[in-house]
């Protein structure tokens, strides 16, 4: 039975970090919500599991998408899913020490993703962007001035520590962390093109990682396919020009 990924349709969002791993590995998966309700999939299949209905024996309901079903195993949160899938997809580093380091990096990426989300929703997820636009402007300016350089500078420093010359975090082997960093650069460039252009010089290693991952054959096919949903203003990375102005 195939891996089943459950995530909202119509946006890349947090699910995209998992999709990139499956696609790069060339391992089949079902993107359940994007499949037909007539086949027992689609949104109702996800809502059922979120409500605790039809869970595999012993499994707990997830708090929120994305979550993964692999036979009787149900697990949630991007970092947890990738920690589990990484070795099966050939996208984890080899040693336990490096796997724990990869998990730590992925959790730092998760924190960055939350901060990106909060640039357009600093007050309440439930409210529209338009209802928190003034606060979003202040938060986005702080993000561009302080937080984004802190995170990107950190990842740059981590990449510099790879003495192998490869454009990845762990020696010569591409891992799910590299795919996620690619997605971070993609997303930030979509959301904050001016801010990213101004800071481009500061992150040569991240730029090299982004180019290297772009060229990975399976991902080229994926990104040219209909499976890759374009960035849009329903996702985490949203382009609102007024938030890209900077401080």
């Amino acid at each position: 039975m195939s891996y089943q990924l459950f995530y909202w349709d119509g946006l890349q969002g947090r699910g995209e970090f998992v999709r990139l791993a499956f696609e790069d590995a060339g391992v089949p998966y079902v993107d359940v919500v994007r499949e037909s309700e007539a086949d027992g999939k689609g949104m109702p299949a996800m809502m059922k599991l979120l409500e605790g209905d039809g869970l595999p024996s012993g499994a707990l309901p997830p708090f929120a998408p994305p979550f993964l079903k692999d036979g009787d195993l149900l697990l949630s949160h991007v970092a947890n899913i990738l920690f589990y899938l990484g070795p099966k997809l050939g996208l984890s580093p080899e040693s336990e020490a490096e796997r724990l380091a990869a998990n730590g990096l992925q959790l730092t990426i998760a924190d960055l993703v939350t901060e990106v989300h909060d640039t357009h929703h600093p007050i309440a997820s439930e409210l529209f962007y338009e209802d928190q636009k003034a606060e979003a402007k202040i938060r986005a300016a702080d993000f561009i001035q302080n937080r984004m350089p802190k995170f990107l500078g950190y990842f740059e420093r981590v990449l510099e520590m790879n003495a192998s010359g490869a454009p990845y975090v762990f020696s010569e082997r591409a891992t799910y962390v590299d795919l996620s960093l690619f997605q971070i650069v993609e997303g930030l460039t979509y959301a904050f093109p001016s801010a990213m252009r101004r800071s481009e010089q500061a992150y040569p290693r991240l730029k090299a990682l982004h180019s290297a991952v772009s060229e990975r054959p399976n991902l080229k096919v994926y990104r040219a396919s209909g499976r890759r949903i374009p960035f849009n203003e329903g996702g985490i990375f949203r382009h609102y020009p007024e938030l890209d102005a900077g401080p």
Copy 2:
């Protein structure tokens, strides 16, 4: 050599979730920043590692505290640290499926902790609370009305699924997730006493978990000791009466 925990002194913060696990297990650890600089510990020891100076061979610098050093292993993020320590401290569930479920729950707890932090810092971590008080009031009201019930209701539902009658998540065995949920109830009760009093009836299982963990002998000793830093307005859970008013 003892486990070395690195976290800010003077506040419980995210480090407390790791301290509770060590203390409950009765396993010695060094709370490095709270030890003497003259012995090579204290704040300079933490800053050195954060700057990538003196890292064990092959280790990556952490993005932020808390982080743990166990011999040559360095790992960061609460959930990652507890996932690693859990089996060694006898505080993980038995099966792989349950360990992944525990990790998912701990990551949901991490998201809740971030949202609690953002009730008093919705605009910028770098700014004082006083400089974002108006926004904090709106965000805290939304937290009390929407987010807190969503998270606590979810944990209550998870606890209800334990058919063993024990007040923990996984059958009769207390795990680090239970200790963290205890800390969540403690912290929310400190930060939002009125809101928690109003909603008390809704979460009988969480209340029972909180009582059961309170009675664990090693934690009673810990909480009566000077090692347990009292809640204060430097931490994640802060009591500002104006944020506890609710919507």
